[in-house]
Amino acid sequence: MSANGKPKFAMYWAAGCGGCEIAVLNIHEKILDVDANFEVVFWPVAMDAKYQDVEAMPDGSITLTLFDGGIRNSENEMLARLLRRKSQILVAFGSCACQGGIPGLANLSAPESLFAAVYDGVSTDSQGVRPQAVWQVPEGELHIPEFYPILKTLAQVVPVDYFMPGCPPEPHQIAAVVDLVIQALHGQAELPPPGSIIGAGYSTVCDECKRARNVKHIRAFERIQNLDHIDPALCLLEQGLPCNGPATRSGCGALCPQAGAPCIGCYGSAEGVLDYGARLLSAFASVIDGNTPEEIERCLDGIPDPAGQVYRFSLANSLLRGGKTACDDEEAEQELIHEAAYHD
């Protein structure tokens, strides 16, 4: 407890887009409840704070920490360990912290090819420049965070109390979790067991989707821009759109499919699913209407990037965690295989 008697709150933005930070403000007037019930001690987006301030706090003195983003470099990891030590409740907040998210897709490539894309590809004035963790200047030695070979989820680095998926988590789910924590602090409610997934459902997005579902026979997978007409009442997968609903955890209210866009899987794997991509891949392949390898391959051509489709938000949390190249030295040879898969 702080001097004013309020429990302490912290939020940190690691390797992610920062949308989760905005999502917290998107709970509208509920943010006043957060302010009324918590003292914000560390939230770099919202207020000035130094890492030393956090280091000076007694261990376990922060009641609730929301950690968004994955662990991409040594700074992310340092903060994850520091906030774990200082926090009673550490929440992996959003898809990146829970499953790696979009930045986790970089696990398909080795760091050097990522650097080449960023420093040699887009920019015209930094050809050949690479970030150096240590650099000598006349004034002394400069340090920047070390870039890791692969992105890890928060739970792959430190123990996590709760997981709150979503890209970003939906406002009504955040508000419900805030309410629950406040009630628990006042002894009016009990927190779920550590390791629980909070602010989400237990079923799949399909279960929340109002579109009609029949027996599926897919003759061709299509990209949404290639369809002339989308039936507003029929399952998108049945219309040939790769919709990630069958493997994705419920909790969003099936927002995307309701709006006519396929689910992209930001809430991560449904209850009990060990590997999200494998489950989704299974769901897609099983409904293909074709029995010969030629028919099936023709249908699969409609999914040009299978790994990106089935692991869009969860590659870093998958069984394989990433591609072979991510940690390989003989990268060039592997890149060829990678390329071949794209251009088949």
Binding site: A155, D275, L281, A285, E297, L319, K324, A326
Partner: protein
Amino acid sequence: MSDSFEPILIGFTCNWCSYRAADLAGTARVKYPPNIRLLRLMCSGRLDPTFVLKALASGADGVLITGCHPGECHYLEQNYKALRRYLLLRRMLAQMGIEPERVKLVWASAAEGVKLAQEITDMVEEIRALGPLNWPQRHNGAAPHADEKAVKEGTA
């Protein structure tokens, strides 16, 4: 690659065909290398791609999936589902940089003990030539956190 590398293969067999083919190879004293660990499923259609990924992530150098010939599935058409999943999985594994030789699908009826033994022998030699996959060392081993726990505790 050193000569001492002995690849570890995981083989998934169907109760109604390939498992019996392996049995037949045994009773007929047809030899095949001991590098493969055979697991019996009721049908190749039971093969969740998760099994393949888990085998590779846990240190297997290759995975052999076997099932009944097309049209001969004990459960009518589940081997076609296995084929579709395999073909999509193969595309995805290629993106991951995993050589296509490491995961194979082979049809083997209960009478094809010799054929199955030959397929296993060929695959072991192909993977021996490729070298170890070493996935656990590559990505620090550990499996995903939250859902692994759920599956272990039977809440799945």
